[in-house]
């Protein structure tokens, strides 16, 4: 899962990046509205955390330009402007959730998880596929109740597939959701992660559709 953090306060941005990384996300961060607009339009994110009081282009106009371009990436507005009038304005501009500052990091993470689940049509915090259970709150994966230890990248690949059970996901799509912007992206490494996942979870669980990508299916 990959998130974009748009926040102009350096300290808070660092805290957010750290928190999301610890929670197993690939994170891009920017201070600037223009850059945010560009990243949101060209990259693929599972959620954007957007501050409204940005230098240059304001958060709301960034959001509006995405929505006008029919980019429906889930957006959570994180702002000091907590009045209800401003929340209504934010939601009307196309935001999916609104969290006023100051906030608690756990709450932010919970809301981002909920947004990602909602976007992929899942209601519960625990995703299941056969014996496989992924708890999005705790980043924990179990097979038949036995915990499995995964690296951050392995977890992201699995989480993305778990959010799209039964669908064929291409390698490039996977890499878009697994790597941050400044990482050296190589879709071949996706193959490596999938290989490791198969080793840890069982061979049959991730199917390969030749030339198309991977598919997660309950056996």
């Amino acid at each position: 899962m990959r998130v974009l953090v748009v926040e102009d306060d350096d300290q808070l941005r660092q805290q957010l990046v750290r928190a999301f990384e610890q929670a197993g996300y690939a994170v891009d961060a920017t201070v600037d509205g223009k850059e945010a607009e560009f990243l949101g339009a060209t990259e693929t994110y599972d959620t954007v955390v957007l501050d409204l009081g940005l230098p240059g282009v304001g958060g709301l106009s960034v959001l509006r330009s995405w929505r006008e371009a029919e980019n429906d990436v889930p957006v959570l507005i994180l702002t000091a402007r907590g009045a209800w009038t401003e929340r209504v304005e934010g939601i009307d501009a196309g935001a999916d959730d609104y969290l006023p500052k100051p906030f608690r990091m756990e709450e932010l993470l919970a809301r981002v998880r909920a947004l990602i689940r909602r976007a992929s049509g899942h209601g519960a915090a625990e995703l299941r596929c056969g014996p496989l259970v992924l708890d999005t709150r705790a980043n924990r994966v179990t097979v038949d109740g036995a915990p499995v230890t995964l690296t951050a990248h392995e977890y992201r690949v699995l989480a993305y597939l778990m959010h799209h059970v039964g669908e064929t996901v291409s390698r490039s799509e996977l890499s878009e959701h697994v790597y941050a912007y400044d990482m050296d992206r190589d879709s071949n490494t996706i193959e490596v992660f999938v290989g490791r996942l198969r080793k840890k979870l069982g061979r049959e669980i991730i199917k390969t559709e030749r030339g198309l990508g991977y598919r997660l299916e309950a056996p």
Binding site: A83, W84, I91, D97, K101, P102, M105, A114, R118
Partner: protein, 453 residues
Amino acid sequence: MIFPRSLSFRLLAGAVVWVTIALVVAGVALSRLFENHLEDQEARRFEVTLNQLAANLAVGDKGGIELTARLSEPQFQRPYSGLYWQVETARGEILLRSRSLWDRVLALPRDTLLDGEIHRHRLTGPDNMPLRVYERSVTLPRRQGRLRLAVGENATVLEGALAGFRRTLALSLGVLGLGLAGAAGVQVAGGLRPLRRLRNALGRVRSGRARRLEGRYPDEIQPLVDNLNAVLDQNEEVVARARTQAGNLAHSLKTPLAVLSNEAVALHDGDKDELARRIGEQVQLMQRRVDYHLVRARAAASVRVPGVRTDVREALEGLVRTMRKIYEARGINIDSELEYAPAFRGERQDFDEMAGNLLDNACKWATGEVRVHADATSDGHLAVWIDDDGPGLPEVRRAEVFSRGRRLDEGVAGSGLGLAVVAELAELYGGTVHLEDSPLGGVRAVLSLPAAG
């Protein structure tokens, strides 16, 4: 002296006084003029008669005086007709008199006249009739001494004519006066109409139906209206600036507070648990105080701004939209019935804050159903009812959720401040908020606020 503080009364009273004075003066002058004219006419007529009398007098053979021809006026012949003549000597010996005098005489006062001079007297004649008498003296040839020739007429003839004229004059001047007073009344009412319009316009501003004084006024009043509008604009600007500044201060504190709060959480992982907890608590407290005073300062300033109104239906629709989105994951169904909601006499932001917090609270506690209903009450207020199907709240605890002190210091995440702000804002606007049992099974919040007419 009690002088009513009414402009209309002053103008009207002034006009009436002025009209009265003018009419009285005109009346007196006209009646004087007419009287002079009548007297002139009379004097001329009598002069003619006196001349005729003098011309017809002749000294008889025995030295007596006799009349050679009868005077033309038939009234001289009819007894007590009211028209008389008499000739007497300077010593008062009556020589001749008109037949109309019959057995009476004109008792002329003692008087000495030069030849040709005509004097006027007022005497009492037969039947105590007042007489106007003209007299001249002549000296006849072949006779010693002057003769006094007198012609008299009933004074009521002239005075009657004069009185008749005065009555007509008074009547017509009176009618004219009433007409002028009426015209003055119409003029005053018409002239002061812009003031009435101004008062109504100000009333609309006060009641929140208008932000400024609308329309064009006469040149005498327009500067006043312009200045009033300038004051209104300035007031609004000052309030807006104060609000922006308060808002900027409050908002600028929030990001540092967020950073501090996150650092405190990070400390948890180390051995500084107690410290972290305390920092966390204090950060929460600071956040609530900032929020609370931000809302309060803004509202306190805006309550006094005239002419603000909020479309309640539009505001609630926005809030419902927002709640649906925020609580989408929990599957809360929000029904609303807002068709008959009157406008709120106050700021949109304040209304949003009150209704938003109540609605947010309802959504938090609801298990699946929230209902919003806004309408006008029978006493002309705006009422908003927000129902939820949550667990409800025992009656004894309902009042305290709105109490500021308790909520401000209570460590309930996220929800602490909201309801205290609602109560505070409602009170500032002269409204109320309370909780009761909801037909849905949970809590019903009832928010009552002044409606804008």
